[in-house]
């Protein structure tokens, strides 16, 4: 359960506070996979960052008892001068994992990078980077995975593999997904949050949320 109680978030700008969320009360159930919908700048990524604990609400509280992944976006949190393997090691270390070897090999295999895994991350193409960051997150057992447009890059075969991998995690985990790809959202999610007009509404049905989103 991830509970938002009275959460407000604004960014100070020259024109006064710009509210992204205002007095949001919301409960995200453990067994639902959530699609986050909204136009550009509506606060989808901010919402994800709030859930991920790397940004904080201006007012209110977000409470959760789950292990939540870092918000997975393209090449976020990767040190470009380190190799793929060294980046995995760093992430293992901050998660307190002692036996890194297994995770390293898993990521190497899953990401299909081959020898590039031993090269600095800044030599990767954007497709490789997305494969890589997706593989890294799959190497850890979180309760909730936060994904920000991560599955929209990469070749068709890999996309399929990603969806299978998420499917395997389903038994023990749920996902919160930001994407502009409606088919993907329909396939992967069974609930949605629509961000519009400074509000966030929870929808039990993805189709309904998508319909509302498209008629905004």
């Amino acid at each position: 359960m991830i509970r938002f109680s009275n959460v407000s978030k604004y960014f100070p700008t020259r024109f006064g506070p710009k509210y992204v969320l205002k007095n949001l009360n919301l409960e995200i159930p453990d067994d639902r996979d959530i699609a986050i919908l909204g136009t550009n700048g509506a606060g989808k990524s901010t919402l994800l960052r709030l859930v991920g604990g790397i940004d904080f609400p201006t007012e209110g509280k977000i409470v959760s008892d789950r292990f939540i992944s870092w918000p997975l976006a393209l090449a976020s949190g990767l040190q470009s001068s380190l190799t793929g393997r060294e980046n995995v090691r760093f992430i293992c270390r901050i998660h307190g994992m002692k036996a890194n070897r297994q995770t390293e090999e898993y990521v190497k295999e899953f990401s299909e990078l081959g020898d590039s895994f031993e090269l600095p991350v800044d030599s990767y193409s954007s497709g490789m980077k997305s494969k890589y960051s997706f593989a890294v997150s799959m190497g850890f057992d979180f309760d909730t995975y936060l994904m920000d447009e991560i599955m929209s890059v990469g070749d068709a075969g890999f996309k399929k593999k990603c969806e299978n991998a998420i499917g395997n995690k389903r038994a023990s985990a749920n996902i919160i997904l930001v994407s502009h790809n409606m088919d993907l959202l329909r396939r992967q999610c069974n609930a949605a949050i629509l961000l519009a007009y400074g509000r966030a509404d929870f929808y039990e049905s993805v189709d309904q949320a998508i319909f509302r989103y498209q008629s905004l």
Partner: protein, 260 residues
Amino acid sequence: MKARSAFSIQRDVIFAIFVREMITRFSNYTLGNIWLVLEPLLMMVLFIVLFGARGRGAYGFVEAPVFIFAAFLPFRTLWTATMRQSASARGGTKGLLEYRQVRLFDVFMARTFIEGGLFVVIGVILGLGMMWLGYDPWPDDLLLTLGYCAVLWLFAASFGMLACMVGSIAKEIEKLVSMLTMPLMFLSAVFFPMTIVPQKYWVFLTWNPILHAMELIREGWMDNYTSPVADFYYLFGAMIICLAFSLSSYRLTWRRIVAK
């Protein structure tokens, strides 16, 4: 995944950043991580040769190279490097803060530990080298010297942290701090003992806590040197005040700093 205590999370994170900083700092250089030690080492050797050759025996109470060693090493590694690394912690580590375990404070801690470690490593290497050349470079009162060094080190770390916090409001502070480094070398009695400064000028210099640290370290290092101005309580007080300010400003601003 297993829940960890706050302490063990912080320990893991600091260790991870420590390793990462060590790998990345000189990764683009041909000689790689050797530069971590080589850069300050070369600088020290240069200064020791430069000043040592010029002022041999000028200090009376100790050979010139040992004098420079005892003063420039703590100043260079414990003050300048530690302070600068903390002050610039916000810049190069944005990517790290994408992980919820990692906080800016861990970056400060890891960088401070690295500089402290470098101080010891470079000190031992240079000391052994000077011993080989026939000098007696080691501190006469090792524990006392290290104690003074630790206070200077903490002062530098908290000053750098404060500069980083204030720098997040006004970027000009970073410029100001880097401009400060050069004159501070002359204001802190690094290349001369306070005994050669006429008494009427002491009042212009003794406001500077680093000068007290340099003089105290010198006292601990060389038995037959007694500083006319050194005041441990002044240095310690300055360190405590600076630490209190930096910690409270960190507590007040860190959330604003991580917000995009």
